[in-house]
């Protein structure tokens, strides 16, 4: 029998109580939030509990919500139970001043580079990561480019003399 979203929600609420919240269903996928202290415990439980069996980390990425005071950065995890073919998504929010989240790279080897990518673009500090350095951008970069505070170049600007790229 396939496990249902209600069943997952019930199991998680039993185990973690108020630490998992904001359950919703987006286009059929159960998504919820948890406290950032709790992300590893939650993932370990989802991985080990036989009736849940979320043993595959599909995706891990960051999101920046600049208007969310104290919860500016989110790390989004997509987990997949391959036997039952059920996917879930959960988010961990953290403030932009103190963006510490526990690393999942000990549990999933796949998380290693995904976390480095998230660090590279959003500056999320994954505690316990063995090699947390930039991966796609140059090492010398001193900002986190996917944060919303760095807008893309204004397409209508005319002050740039740049013949090689079709301006000026």
């Amino acid at each position: 029998m396939a496990i249902t979203n209600e069943y997952i929600q019930q199991k998680l609420t039993e185990k973690f109580g108020d630490a998992v919240y904001n359950f919703e269903e987006n286009y059929g996928m159960l998504s919820f939030e948890t406290f950032r202290e709790n992300n590893l415990k939650l993932m370990q439980y989802l991985h080990d509990e036989p009736s849940l069996g979320f043993g595959f980390l599909t995706d891990l990425c960051g999101v920046n919500y600049p208007d969310n005071k104290g919860r500016e950065l989110a790390v989004v995890y997509h987990l997949h139970n391959l036997q039952e073919n059920v996917r879930i998504r959960f988010k961990v929010f953290t403030s932009i001043e103190d963006p510490d989240v526990f690393t999942a790279s000990r549990l999933y080897a796949a998380a290693d580079w995904m976390e480095r990518e998230t660090y590279d673009f959003y500056g999320v500090n994954f505690i316990g990561h063995h090699n947390l350095k930039r991966i796609l951008n140059v090492d010398e970069m001193d900002y986190f480019p996917l944060r919303k505070e760095y807008p893309l170049e204004d397409q209508t600007r005319i002050d740039k003399d740049d013949e090689m790229f079709g301006r000026g």
Binding site: N26, Y27, M29, S31, G55, F56, L57, T58, D59, C61, V63, N64, V76, H78, L82, N85, R87, R89, Y108, A109, A110, D112, W113, M114, E117, F121, K133, R134, I135, L136, N137, D139, E140, P145, L146, L152
Partner: protein, 407 residues
Amino acid sequence: MNEHHIILPEGSIEKQTTTLNLGPTHPATHGVFQNIMELDGERVVSSEQTVGYIHRAFEKIAERRPLYQITPLTDRLNYCSSPINNMGWHLTCEKLLGVKTPKRVDYLRVIIMELSRIADHLICNSIVGVDAGAFTGFLYVMQYRELIYEIFEEVCGSRLTTNIGRIGGFERNFSNTAFTKLEKFLKEYPVALGELESLLKRNRIFMDRTIGGGPISAERALNYGFTGPNLRAAGVDYDVRVHSPYSSYEDFEFTVPVGKTGDNYDRFLVRSEEMWQSMHIIKQAYQKIQAFKGEEAEVYHANVPEYYLPKKEDVYTKMEALIWHFKIIMGEVDMPKGEVYHSVEGGNGELGFYLISDGGRTPFRLHFRRPCFIYYQAYPEMVKGSMLSDAILTMSSLNLIAGEMDA
């Protein structure tokens, strides 16, 4: 220089191993990858990869672009099978916007996606042959990839970075020439694929080079987030087309080939068999398309004027079409709020799109789950202890595409 730079350790001159800088541009890497390998004689002791040489910040750029302007970005992910990326993106948009596509559109899409899968696997398998010393196969099958590209050209006008399709369907109906070319391909390609297989599959040299090279167990592969042919070669029958069917894949009969050891030979066999299965799917889809009669046989897009770009001649002659054209191009059609994750079976594995919309004209956040980027992490573990030349073979057999890895 800072602490992140790779600095040769103290006494590296006296040490017994050799440090080899392989890449970032090297004829054997088939892409822009750098590997710093520590070699003991010809054996790999350890290696460290550097990626990001062609990073183009697609996720950032996408935050300013309306949906249609993101399609060309997806072309440049896995450029060996651009149509799959394009359609994956359009399917994601359709999921968010709630667009239902007619069956004929689904089947046409299946034909194009399976053709791209063949093109993708064809390159990968023949390149594995090249790295094992057989250049002939690679040159020989190029003309069959050309047949596939001619079909793409007939359908959308371009060959490599296709920008094919629209939200809800295709920009135009398939012409008779496209179907003729498809028939020609279906007739000629099995012969060539059979020849490629007979060149390599039971070839003593090829088998000796690939069997046992770059193996990975099913457990490690899952832990490393492998998907697609590489995971199936390790013995896990996970295929997005079967698990979460999109574009009416549930209507087709096909088998998912699996390997056992996850080595280079198994990856070769899995890809080879997948090409046969793709042919099988294309034939079924073509039959289903021929079965449509009357008006149904002319359907090539869903009836969603608010998202589907109208024909150019209509834009010039009809008021309605002009208005929609303007609204779509200027990005005045807002998306609904929501978060959607959609994945398709790309050439390399599960290609996922995680789209967060805050209701505006552009995505609030778009993240690509790029299979290459995720499984390239396993490379040091897979080549540890193997010969350098086998490590090269493992790299090409993983089908690493720099464009997809670096996004």
